[in-house]
Subunit: 334 residues, 2 copies
């Protein structure tokens, strides 16, 4: 790993100037600071070994995910992460980021100038600018529901979607269903691609023979219901698995308006186990992503990366939560 | 979780009798001890909360894998596990097991009567009797290169074989190879099935179009070379990936005897990075399974299970080690 001396030598400046730039001292020009930080990052310098006296700092980088109220997806996630990281001596900051910030400041530079030695990254899509940075970055990052191959500084965490989809399809099969459809939101995110493949894989594993058009995906929930739900019902599906709970709930309401009884004529399964699932009518059978435990997985992953054990992936066991939206197949006639 | 009192109530014996059975006291009949242990296990009793004063005990359960000498596969694995577990206050025993032992004593009973609170399991095949036990067991176990779905007490660890195969195929493609064959040992083990699928997946991901007969598998290395190597060469393969280093080395020697020059006429890649890979002629390009780091992953996994965070899978980043057995495709004519 490059030292402050290496950076000073490369740029022909003094060690103290490099040190000032890295520690955000005020008496150095913005242009020089930027130049020094970029060079430091190019040379693979990170702050890993530099936290004497003060608690080492981790951050939760978050986008497209709410986290301030107890019922929001990010809330328990961050609590789980803190429950492990803080007793281990880390300070944890939560940093919402925008596209603009990501475009202006490369990931490694952001981490270096803010003294973070590692990050848990929540809610990123495939098009977030830092996703490209992660391919080559040197600062440990743990990505929830995203995956970067072949960079030993980056880990991926999430639930085991293959296992979860397997549990969903097995339950429906046990209940007598054979024609099972799949409604997904847009396939522009890693996790939606994974679940889409997992659906077909689980169907085949269970001896069912899905055609390609047994699944449908759209960006907006309303589009998804409009474009695909009627189509699947007309094809004689007796059960529908949805890529997340919000679609499942929308589909359930729409089917009830069309005169279907859930679960007598149609079973529906969601994904995530959002707090609302207990309160829908009927309560929604779903695959739980335990958010507190995912936060803890995030800590296990960052801790291994900081210990130079390059864990690439941690998958939490998925859990089937059986509620009222699934039942034995009796008839699909309303 | 069941208590000693629950077990005593169920069997109509005293708490002290249950306690004697569980702690291997001598003044109790073998039949009664067995009955009590089986009942305790059925009721989900484990020793997790019972280690006062003495260090809690973990074990490495090992089969079909040598571990006593530094060059053997299990040696560094166990060192990595100990390097994490012992400073954390655990005592670690290494227990070689036979089929006979597994058939005689169920896994949970074995763990209970020997005071182990968790196990790292190395070298098991799909037919090992305890593989069935793991589906329902209550005592945390971390399986290397094996996978049990939907039991929150069982984790799986290994390298990311998809990533590793992706690195191997990408390298060969970059070197100009298009016709790439795959030699595998018998598909009766979980990891061999995973690598076999990973080969076809990586080929497709790289825009190559493998036919089913571009791969071949046999139980013995000699069979594998006899049955499939000539066949692949006659089909015009210019590179061959092997499911592990021993097959790669045997294939390399055989090709050289047939007059091929490795890597001028034929590139060969192994899997594992056994110590021998530096000494073969030419030195073997391979995908490294870092055994010390895998041992550490084993500890991360058991530690999470003991903390009630049901991690299902941990995959270590695979690493491409490029040596002399791969080169640019020039001609496949000898």
């Amino acid at each position: 790993m490059a030292t402050i001396q290496d950076i000073a030598d490369k740029l022909g400046v003094s060690k103290s100037t490099v040190s000032k730039a890295i520690n955000n001292a005020p008496d150095i020009s913005e242009t020089l600071r930027k130049n020094i930080l970029n060079t430091a990052v190019e040379m693979g310098y990170t702050k890993l070994r530099r936290s004497k006296g003060t608690a080492p700092k981790l951050c939760v980088i978050i986008k497209n995910m709410e986290y301030e109220e107890p019922h929001q997806f990010g809330y328990d996630f961050i609590i789980g992460f803190r429950q492990m990281a803080e007793p281990a001596g880390f300070k944890v900051d939560v940093i919402p980021v925008t596209d603009t910030l990501q475009k202006k400041t490369p990931y490694d530079v952001f981490m270096l100038q803010n003294n973070y030695i590692g990050a848990l990254v929540l809610g990123f899509s495939l098009t977030d600018p830092w996703m490209k940075d992660f391919e080559k970055s040197h600062t440990p990052a743990v990505l929830f529901d995203n995956y970067i191959p072949a960079n030993p500084f980056i880990s991926s965490i999430g639930i085991d979607n293959d296992e979860g989809m397997g549990l969903a399809v097995s339950l429906l099969k046990k209940l007598g269903h054979k024609k099972i459809g799949y409604l997904s939101s847009d396939l522009g995110s890693h996790v939606m691609q994974v679940r889409y493949k997992a659906f077909f894989h689980a169907m085949v594993q269970n001896g069912l023979s899905p055609e390609k058009d047994w699944a449908g995906s759209s960006y907006y929930i309303t589009q998804c219901v409009e474009n695909h739900l009627m189509r699947l019902l007309n094809m004689g599906m007796t059960a529908i698995i949805c890529s997340h709970d919000l679609i499942a709930n929308a589909a359930m309401i729409q089917c009830q308006q069309l005169g279907y009884h859930v679960p007598k004529n149609l079973s529906i399964i969601g994904f995530d186990d959002l707090p609302m699932c207990s309160y829908t009518s009927p309560p929604l059978t779903t695959i739980r992503q335990n958010r507190t435990e995912l936060g803890k997985c995030g800590y296990y992953a960052i801790s291994s990366l900081l210990n130079h054990v390059p864990i690439g992936t941690i998958l939490l066991h998925a859990q089937l939560i059986e509620r009222g939206s699934t039942g034995s197949f009796i008839t699909n006639t309303k």
